[in-house]
Symmetry: C2
Subunit: 226 residues, 2 copies
Protein backbone atom coordinates (compact mmCIF):
# COMPACT_ATOMS: atom_id res chain seq x y z
CA UNK A 1 0.00 0.00 0.00
CA UNK A 2 1.55 3.28 -1.11
CA UNK A 3 0.81 6.19 1.23
CA UNK A 4 0.39 8.60 -1.66
CA UNK A 5 -2.29 6.59 -3.42
CA UNK A 6 -4.34 6.50 -0.24
CA UNK A 7 -4.97 10.25 -0.34
CA UNK A 8 -7.91 11.17 -2.54
CA UNK A 9 -9.95 14.24 -3.33
CA UNK A 10 -12.09 15.07 -0.29
CA UNK A 11 -15.54 14.58 -1.81
CA UNK A 12 -17.33 17.84 -1.00
CA UNK A 13 -20.86 17.81 0.36
CA UNK A 14 -23.67 19.37 -1.65
CA UNK A 15 -25.86 21.85 0.20
CA UNK A 16 -28.55 19.17 0.47
CA UNK A 17 -26.09 16.66 1.89
CA UNK A 18 -24.82 19.20 4.40
CA UNK A 19 -28.35 20.01 5.50
CA UNK A 20 -29.07 16.29 5.96
CA UNK A 21 -26.15 16.01 8.39
CA UNK A 22 -27.43 19.02 10.35
CA UNK A 23 -30.95 17.58 10.27
CA UNK A 24 -29.66 14.43 11.98
CA UNK A 25 -27.76 16.49 14.54
CA UNK A 26 -30.55 18.93 15.40
CA UNK A 27 -33.50 16.52 15.36
CA UNK A 28 -31.77 13.71 17.28
CA UNK A 29 -33.48 13.07 20.62
CA UNK A 30 -32.86 10.98 23.68
CA UNK A 31 -35.96 8.83 23.27
CA UNK A 32 -37.58 7.15 26.26
CA UNK A 33 -41.18 6.52 25.33
CA UNK A 34 -41.98 6.97 21.62
CA UNK A 35 -40.75 3.52 20.53
CA UNK A 36 -42.91 1.49 18.15
CA UNK A 37 -42.86 -2.30 18.57
CA UNK A 38 -41.72 -2.96 14.97
CA UNK A 39 -38.67 -5.19 14.66
CA UNK A 40 -35.44 -3.54 13.55
CA UNK A 41 -34.18 -5.95 10.89
CA UNK A 42 -30.71 -7.44 11.01
CA UNK A 43 -29.50 -5.53 7.96
CA UNK A 44 -30.50 -2.20 9.54
CA UNK A 45 -28.79 -3.23 12.79
CA UNK A 46 -25.66 -4.07 10.79
CA UNK A 47 -25.68 -0.61 9.18
CA UNK A 48 -25.97 1.04 12.59
CA UNK A 49 -23.14 -1.05 14.00
CA UNK A 50 -20.96 -0.38 10.96
CA UNK A 51 -21.49 3.35 11.52
CA UNK A 52 -20.47 2.93 15.17
CA UNK A 53 -17.44 0.82 14.21
CA UNK A 54 -16.25 3.64 11.91
CA UNK A 55 -15.95 6.10 14.78
CA UNK A 56 -12.53 7.59 15.44
CA UNK A 57 -10.50 5.65 17.98
CA UNK A 58 -7.32 6.53 19.80
CA UNK A 59 -4.38 4.76 18.16
CA UNK A 60 -6.98 3.10 15.87
CA UNK A 61 -7.62 0.88 18.87
CA UNK A 62 -11.33 0.15 18.22
CA UNK A 63 -11.79 -0.69 21.89
CA UNK A 64 -15.55 -1.21 21.66
CA UNK A 65 -17.89 -4.18 21.77
CA UNK A 66 -21.62 -4.21 21.10
CA UNK A 67 -23.95 -6.67 22.83
CA UNK A 68 -27.32 -6.94 21.08
CA UNK A 69 -30.22 -7.67 23.40
CA UNK A 70 -33.64 -8.43 21.93
CA UNK A 71 -35.12 -11.10 24.23
CA UNK A 72 -37.93 -9.79 26.39
CA UNK A 73 -36.86 -11.73 29.50
CA UNK A 74 -33.36 -10.31 29.20
CA UNK A 75 -34.69 -6.74 28.86
CA UNK A 76 -36.97 -7.35 31.83
CA UNK A 77 -33.94 -8.30 33.95
CA UNK A 78 -32.09 -5.19 32.77
CA UNK A 79 -35.12 -3.07 33.64
CA UNK A 80 -35.15 -4.52 37.17
CA UNK A 81 -31.51 -3.47 37.51
CA UNK A 82 -32.39 0.03 36.27
CA UNK A 83 -35.36 0.24 38.59
CA UNK A 84 -33.45 -0.62 41.73
CA UNK A 85 -30.61 1.80 40.82
CA UNK A 86 -33.19 4.47 40.06
CA UNK A 87 -34.69 4.11 43.53
CA UNK A 88 -31.23 4.96 44.88
CA UNK A 89 -30.99 7.86 42.43
CA UNK A 90 -34.27 9.45 43.55
CA UNK A 91 -33.05 9.55 47.14
CA UNK A 92 -29.94 11.55 46.13
CA UNK A 93 -31.96 14.56 44.97
CA UNK A 94 -33.09 17.37 47.25
CA UNK A 95 -36.66 16.94 48.47
CA UNK A 96 -38.02 19.68 46.21
CA UNK A 97 -36.85 17.88 43.03
CA UNK A 98 -37.74 14.31 43.96
CA UNK A 99 -41.34 14.38 42.81
CA UNK A 100 -40.38 15.97 39.49
CA UNK A 101 -37.59 13.41 39.08
CA UNK A 102 -40.01 10.56 39.71
CA UNK A 103 -42.45 11.95 37.13
CA UNK A 104 -39.86 11.62 34.34
CA UNK A 105 -39.61 8.46 32.25
CA UNK A 106 -35.88 7.87 32.00
CA UNK A 107 -35.64 4.71 29.93
CA UNK A 108 -37.35 2.60 27.28
CA UNK A 109 -35.72 -0.74 28.09
CA UNK A 110 -38.91 -2.82 27.88
CA UNK A 111 -40.75 -0.71 25.32
CA UNK A 112 -37.95 -0.57 22.72
CA UNK A 113 -37.52 -3.83 20.80
CA UNK A 114 -33.72 -3.53 20.49
CA UNK A 115 -31.19 -2.80 23.23
CA UNK A 116 -27.43 -2.51 22.70
CA UNK A 117 -24.86 -2.49 25.47
CA UNK A 118 -21.64 -0.74 24.40
CA UNK A 119 -18.44 -1.60 26.25
CA UNK A 120 -14.77 -0.62 26.21
CA UNK A 121 -11.92 -3.14 26.41
CA UNK A 122 -9.13 -1.01 27.83
CA UNK A 123 -6.51 -3.75 27.36
CA UNK A 124 -7.19 -4.35 23.70
CA UNK A 125 -3.90 -2.91 22.46
CA UNK A 126 -1.70 -3.53 25.48
CA UNK A 127 -0.58 -1.04 28.08
CA UNK A 128 0.81 1.69 25.84
CA UNK A 129 -1.60 3.07 23.25
CA UNK A 130 -0.74 5.83 20.78
CA UNK A 131 -2.63 8.95 21.92
CA UNK A 132 -3.56 7.48 25.34
CA UNK A 133 -0.18 8.09 26.91
CA UNK A 134 -1.22 11.34 28.62
CA UNK A 135 -5.01 11.14 28.76
CA UNK A 136 -5.98 7.71 30.00
CA UNK A 137 -9.67 8.35 29.25
CA UNK A 138 -9.10 8.43 25.49
CA UNK A 139 -10.25 4.84 24.88
CA UNK A 140 -13.49 5.53 26.75
CA UNK A 141 -13.93 8.69 24.68
CA UNK A 142 -13.44 6.71 21.45
CA UNK A 143 -16.22 4.40 22.55
CA UNK A 144 -18.50 7.41 23.15
CA UNK A 145 -17.78 8.60 19.60
CA UNK A 146 -19.05 5.21 18.42
CA UNK A 147 -22.24 5.75 20.44
CA UNK A 148 -22.80 9.17 18.88
CA UNK A 149 -22.23 7.80 15.36
CA UNK A 150 -24.78 5.08 16.09
CA UNK A 151 -27.25 7.67 17.41
CA UNK A 152 -27.08 9.86 14.30
CA UNK A 153 -27.21 6.87 11.95
CA UNK A 154 -30.29 5.64 13.85
CA UNK A 155 -31.96 9.04 13.41
CA UNK A 156 -31.34 8.85 9.66
CA UNK A 157 -32.90 5.36 9.61
CA UNK A 158 -36.06 6.59 11.37
CA UNK A 159 -35.00 4.91 14.59
CA UNK A 160 -35.07 6.65 17.95
CA UNK A 161 -32.46 5.94 20.59
CA UNK A 162 -32.14 6.55 24.30
CA UNK A 163 -29.04 6.24 26.49
CA UNK A 164 -29.69 4.74 29.93
CA UNK A 165 -26.96 5.37 32.48
CA UNK A 166 -28.71 4.60 35.76
CA UNK A 167 -27.36 1.15 36.67
CA UNK A 168 -25.00 -0.38 39.15
CA UNK A 169 -22.27 -1.77 36.87
CA UNK A 170 -22.16 -5.07 38.73
CA UNK A 171 -25.87 -5.71 38.04
CA UNK A 172 -25.52 -5.20 34.30
CA UNK A 173 -22.28 -7.18 34.14
CA UNK A 174 -23.98 -10.05 35.93
CA UNK A 175 -26.97 -10.11 33.57
CA UNK A 176 -24.93 -9.82 30.38
CA UNK A 177 -21.90 -11.90 31.44
CA UNK A 178 -19.51 -8.98 30.99
CA UNK A 179 -16.08 -9.61 32.57
CA UNK A 180 -15.07 -7.38 35.43
CA UNK A 181 -12.15 -5.79 33.58
CA UNK A 182 -14.45 -4.51 30.77
CA UNK A 183 -15.92 -1.02 31.16
CA UNK A 184 -19.60 -0.47 30.36
CA UNK A 185 -19.91 2.84 28.51
CA UNK A 186 -23.55 2.91 27.41
CA UNK A 187 -26.80 0.97 27.49
CA UNK A 188 -28.90 1.96 24.49
CA UNK A 189 -32.61 1.47 23.71
CA UNK A 190 -33.62 1.57 20.06
CA UNK A 191 -36.79 1.32 18.03
CA UNK A 192 -38.64 2.93 15.16
CA UNK A 193 -40.41 6.19 16.01
CA UNK A 194 -43.04 8.22 14.23
CA UNK A 195 -43.09 11.04 16.77
CA UNK A 196 -40.25 12.92 18.42
CA UNK A 197 -40.00 15.88 20.75
CA UNK A 198 -39.20 19.10 18.91
CA UNK A 199 -36.70 20.02 21.65
CA UNK A 200 -34.93 17.96 24.33
CA UNK A 201 -37.47 16.28 26.59
CA UNK A 202 -35.79 17.56 29.77
CA UNK A 203 -36.05 21.12 28.41
CA UNK A 204 -39.73 20.71 27.50
CA UNK A 205 -40.50 19.21 30.90
CA UNK A 206 -38.78 22.06 32.70
CA UNK A 207 -35.92 20.09 34.25
CA UNK A 208 -33.22 22.33 32.77
CA UNK A 209 -32.87 25.20 30.26
CA UNK A 210 -30.90 25.41 27.01
CA UNK A 211 -27.85 27.63 27.62
CA UNK A 212 -27.22 30.41 25.09
CA UNK A 213 -24.40 29.28 22.78
CA UNK A 214 -22.42 32.47 23.44
CA UNK A 215 -22.24 31.60 27.14
CA UNK A 216 -20.20 28.48 26.44
CA UNK A 217 -17.83 29.88 23.79
CA UNK A 218 -14.62 31.74 24.65
CA UNK A 219 -12.18 33.48 22.33
CA UNK A 220 -8.49 32.78 22.85
CA UNK A 221 -8.60 32.06 26.56
CA UNK A 222 -10.90 30.88 29.33
CA UNK A 223 -13.17 33.70 30.44
CA UNK A 224 -14.42 34.33 33.93
CA UNK A 225 -13.47 33.01 37.31
CA UNK A 226 -12.20 29.68 38.41
Amino acid sequence: MQNKSALAAAAPFSEQEREAVYKAIFTRRDVRDQFLPDTVSDDVVQRLLKAAHHAPSVGFMQPWNFIIIRAQEERERVWQAFSSANDEAVAMFPDNRQSQYKSLKLEGIRKSPLNICVTCDRDRNGDVVLGRTHNTNMDLYSTVCAVQNLWLAARAEGIGMGWVSIFRDADLKGILGIPNRIEIVAYLCLGYVDQLYTRPELEIKGWNKRMPLEDVVFEGKWRGGS
Copy 2:
Protein backbone atom coordinates in the same frame (compact mmCIF):
# COMPACT_ATOMS: atom_id res chain seq x y z
CA MET B 1 -45.46 24.88 27.29
CA GLN B 2 -47.79 21.89 26.88
CA ASN B 3 -45.99 18.56 26.80
CA LYS B 4 -48.32 17.18 24.17
CA SER B 5 -47.79 19.95 21.65
CA ALA B 6 -44.03 19.43 21.85
CA LEU B 7 -44.28 16.01 20.21
CA ALA B 8 -44.30 16.21 16.44
CA ALA B 9 -44.10 13.85 13.51
CA ALA B 10 -40.54 12.49 13.31
CA ALA B 11 -39.53 13.90 9.93
CA PRO B 12 -38.29 10.83 8.04
CA PHE B 13 -35.04 10.96 6.08
CA SER B 14 -35.09 10.49 2.33
CA GLU B 15 -32.66 7.90 0.95
CA GLN B 16 -30.40 10.77 -0.18
CA GLU B 17 -30.46 12.36 3.26
CA ARG B 18 -29.67 9.04 4.91
CA GLU B 19 -26.77 8.48 2.54
CA ALA B 20 -25.43 11.95 3.34
CA VAL B 21 -25.30 11.08 7.05
CA TYR B 22 -23.44 7.85 6.27
CA LYS B 23 -21.11 9.76 3.92
CA ALA B 24 -20.12 12.04 6.81
CA ILE B 25 -19.62 9.06 9.12
CA PHE B 26 -17.59 6.91 6.71
CA THR B 27 -15.44 9.63 5.12
CA ARG B 28 -14.62 11.47 8.37
CA ARG B 29 -10.88 11.33 9.09
CA ASP B 30 -8.59 12.31 11.94
CA VAL B 31 -6.70 14.93 9.92
CA ARG B 32 -3.13 15.87 10.85
CA ASP B 33 -1.53 17.26 7.72
CA GLN B 34 -3.97 18.05 4.90
CA PHE B 35 -5.10 21.44 6.25
CA LEU B 36 -5.29 24.38 3.84
CA PRO B 37 -4.46 27.83 5.24
CA ASP B 38 -7.84 29.35 4.29
CA THR B 39 -9.64 31.10 7.12
CA VAL B 40 -12.73 29.40 8.51
CA SER B 41 -15.20 32.27 8.70
CA ASP B 42 -17.05 33.14 11.89
CA ASP B 43 -20.43 32.05 10.55
CA VAL B 44 -19.08 28.59 9.69
CA VAL B 45 -17.47 28.34 13.14
CA GLN B 46 -20.83 29.27 14.67
CA ARG B 47 -22.57 26.49 12.72
CA LEU B 48 -20.00 23.96 13.94
CA LEU B 49 -20.34 25.13 17.55
CA LYS B 50 -24.12 25.06 17.33
CA ALA B 51 -23.91 21.44 16.13
CA ALA B 52 -21.66 20.62 19.09
CA HIS B 53 -23.97 22.45 21.51
CA HIS B 54 -26.87 20.29 20.33
CA ALA B 55 -25.20 17.08 21.43
CA PRO B 56 -27.02 14.98 24.01
CA SER B 57 -26.02 15.77 27.57
CA VAL B 58 -26.71 13.94 30.79
CA GLY B 59 -29.54 15.66 32.67
CA PHE B 60 -29.47 18.28 29.85
CA MET B 61 -26.44 19.61 31.71
CA GLN B 62 -24.54 21.03 28.68
CA PRO B 63 -21.28 20.80 30.65
CA TRP B 64 -19.05 21.89 27.75
CA ASN B 65 -17.11 25.02 26.88
CA PHE B 66 -15.33 25.79 23.63
CA ILE B 67 -12.19 27.94 23.52
CA ILE B 68 -11.44 29.20 20.01
CA ILE B 69 -7.72 29.65 19.29
CA ARG B 70 -6.65 31.30 16.04
CA ALA B 71 -3.57 33.36 16.99
CA GLN B 72 -0.35 31.90 15.63
CA GLU B 73 1.67 32.65 18.79
CA GLU B 74 -0.93 30.86 20.90
CA ARG B 75 -0.89 27.83 18.63
CA GLU B 76 2.90 27.84 18.72
CA ARG B 77 2.81 27.67 22.52
CA VAL B 78 0.31 24.82 22.39
CA TRP B 79 2.55 23.01 19.91
CA GLN B 80 5.50 23.33 22.27
CA ALA B 81 3.35 21.72 24.97
CA PHE B 82 2.43 18.91 22.59
CA SER B 83 6.03 18.45 21.53
CA SER B 84 7.39 18.06 25.02
CA ALA B 85 4.60 15.63 25.99
CA ASN B 86 5.22 13.70 22.79
CA ASP B 87 8.88 13.24 23.69
CA GLU B 88 7.66 11.55 26.85
CA ALA B 89 5.19 9.49 24.82
CA VAL B 90 7.86 8.14 22.44
CA ALA B 91 9.87 6.81 25.37
CA MET B 92 6.89 4.77 26.61
CA PHE B 93 6.80 2.55 23.52
CA PRO B 94 8.86 -0.60 23.10
CA ASP B 95 12.08 -0.03 21.15
CA ASN B 96 10.77 -1.75 18.02
CA ARG B 97 7.83 0.70 17.68
CA GLN B 98 9.62 3.94 18.56
CA SER B 99 10.95 4.73 15.10
CA GLN B 100 7.55 4.06 13.51
CA TYR B 101 5.87 6.19 16.19
CA LYS B 102 8.27 9.05 15.51
CA SER B 103 7.56 8.86 11.77
CA LEU B 104 3.87 9.61 12.30
CA LYS B 105 2.55 13.17 12.25
CA LEU B 106 0.15 13.25 15.17
CA GLU B 107 -1.13 16.82 15.14
CA GLY B 108 -1.81 19.85 12.93
CA ILE B 109 -1.72 22.51 15.63
CA ARG B 110 0.37 25.02 13.67
CA LYS B 111 -0.77 24.04 10.19
CA SER B 112 -4.51 24.26 10.84
CA PRO B 113 -5.81 27.84 11.07
CA LEU B 114 -8.42 27.10 13.74
CA ASN B 115 -7.99 25.23 17.01
CA ILE B 116 -10.76 24.56 19.54
CA CYS B 117 -10.21 23.35 23.07
CA VAL B 118 -13.26 21.53 24.45
CA THR B 119 -13.68 21.35 28.21
CA CYS B 120 -16.12 19.89 30.73
CA ASP B 121 -17.35 21.80 33.79
CA ARG B 122 -18.29 18.96 36.12
CA ASP B 123 -19.86 21.31 38.68
CA ARG B 124 -22.20 23.08 36.28
CA ASN B 125 -25.38 21.58 37.70
CA GLY B 126 -24.32 20.96 41.28
CA ASP B 127 -23.37 17.67 42.86
CA VAL B 128 -26.34 15.56 41.90
CA VAL B 129 -27.07 15.36 38.17
CA LEU B 130 -29.91 13.36 36.65
CA GLY B 131 -28.31 10.36 34.92
CA ARG B 132 -24.88 10.87 36.52
CA THR B 133 -25.85 9.35 39.85
CA HIS B 134 -24.35 5.93 39.06
CA ASN B 135 -21.88 6.61 36.26
CA THR B 136 -19.81 9.64 37.22
CA ASN B 137 -18.23 9.79 33.76
CA MET B 138 -21.49 10.73 32.06
CA ASP B 139 -20.72 14.47 31.88
CA LEU B 140 -17.38 13.74 30.22
CA TYR B 141 -19.17 11.43 27.80
CA SER B 142 -21.70 14.18 26.95
CA THR B 143 -18.78 16.44 26.08
CA VAL B 144 -17.36 13.76 23.79
CA CYS B 145 -20.73 13.57 22.00
CA ALA B 146 -20.35 17.31 21.34
CA VAL B 147 -16.91 16.68 19.84
CA GLN B 148 -18.25 13.97 17.54
CA ASN B 149 -21.14 16.22 16.41
CA LEU B 150 -18.60 18.95 15.65
CA TRP B 151 -16.44 16.48 13.72
CA LEU B 152 -19.27 15.30 11.47
CA ALA B 153 -20.56 18.83 10.90
CA ALA B 154 -17.02 19.88 9.96
CA ARG B 155 -16.81 17.04 7.42
CA ALA B 156 -20.07 18.23 5.86
CA GLU B 157 -18.64 21.77 5.64
CA GLY B 158 -15.51 20.55 3.82
CA ILE B 159 -13.43 21.04 6.95
CA GLY B 160 -11.02 18.43 8.26
CA MET B 161 -10.51 17.94 11.99
CA GLY B 162 -7.91 16.23 14.13
CA TRP B 163 -8.09 15.42 17.86
CA VAL B 164 -4.82 15.91 19.72
CA SER B 165 -4.61 14.17 23.09
CA ILE B 166 -0.88 14.19 23.81
CA PHE B 167 -0.52 16.99 26.36
CA ARG B 168 0.17 17.35 30.03
CA ASP B 169 -3.06 18.94 31.26
CA ALA B 170 -1.22 21.50 33.38
CA ASP B 171 0.62 22.85 30.30
CA LEU B 172 -2.56 23.41 28.33
CA LYS B 173 -4.40 24.86 31.32
CA GLY B 174 -1.55 27.30 31.86
CA ILE B 175 -1.52 28.49 28.24
CA LEU B 176 -5.31 28.84 27.95
CA GLY B 177 -6.03 30.05 31.49
CA ILE B 178 -8.28 27.08 32.22
CA PRO B 179 -9.10 26.71 35.94
CA ASN B 180 -7.82 23.62 37.68
CA ARG B 181 -11.29 22.24 38.42
CA ILE B 182 -12.23 22.18 34.70
CA GLU B 183 -11.52 18.99 32.74
CA ILE B 184 -9.95 19.25 29.29
CA VAL B 185 -11.68 16.70 27.05
CA ALA B 186 -10.29 17.49 23.59
CA TYR B 187 -7.94 19.78 21.70
CA LEU B 188 -9.11 20.03 18.10
CA CYS B 189 -7.35 21.26 14.94
CA LEU B 190 -9.58 22.39 12.07
CA GLY B 191 -9.14 23.69 8.55
CA TYR B 192 -10.45 23.26 5.03
CA VAL B 193 -9.19 20.20 3.20
CA ASP B 194 -9.22 19.20 -0.44
CA GLN B 195 -7.66 15.79 0.10
CA LEU B 196 -8.38 13.12 2.68
CA TYR B 197 -7.17 9.60 3.31
CA THR B 198 -9.54 6.97 1.94
CA ARG B 199 -9.09 4.93 5.14
CA PRO B 200 -7.84 5.83 8.62
CA GLU B 201 -4.27 7.13 8.41
CA LEU B 202 -3.04 4.74 11.13
CA GLU B 203 -4.44 1.82 9.12
CA ILE B 204 -2.81 3.01 5.89
CA LYS B 205 0.50 3.54 7.63
CA GLY B 206 0.44 0.06 9.15
CA TRP B 207 0.13 1.06 12.82
CA ASN B 208 -3.00 -1.04 13.39
CA LYS B 209 -5.58 -3.04 11.41
CA ARG B 210 -9.35 -2.59 11.07
CA MET B 211 -11.08 -5.29 13.11
CA PRO B 212 -13.83 -7.28 11.36
CA LEU B 213 -17.18 -5.94 12.58
CA GLU B 214 -18.36 -9.44 13.52
CA ASP B 215 -15.49 -9.74 16.01
CA VAL B 216 -16.84 -6.87 18.12
CA VAL B 217 -20.55 -7.76 18.05
CA PHE B 218 -22.13 -10.23 20.47
CA GLU B 219 -25.69 -11.56 20.54
CA GLY B 220 -27.48 -11.57 23.88
CA LYS B 221 -24.42 -11.98 26.10
CA TRP B 222 -20.70 -11.32 26.23
CA ARG B 223 -18.84 -13.99 24.27
CA GLY B 224 -15.48 -15.44 25.09
CA GLY B 225 -13.21 -15.31 28.09
CA SER B 226 -12.70 -12.67 30.69
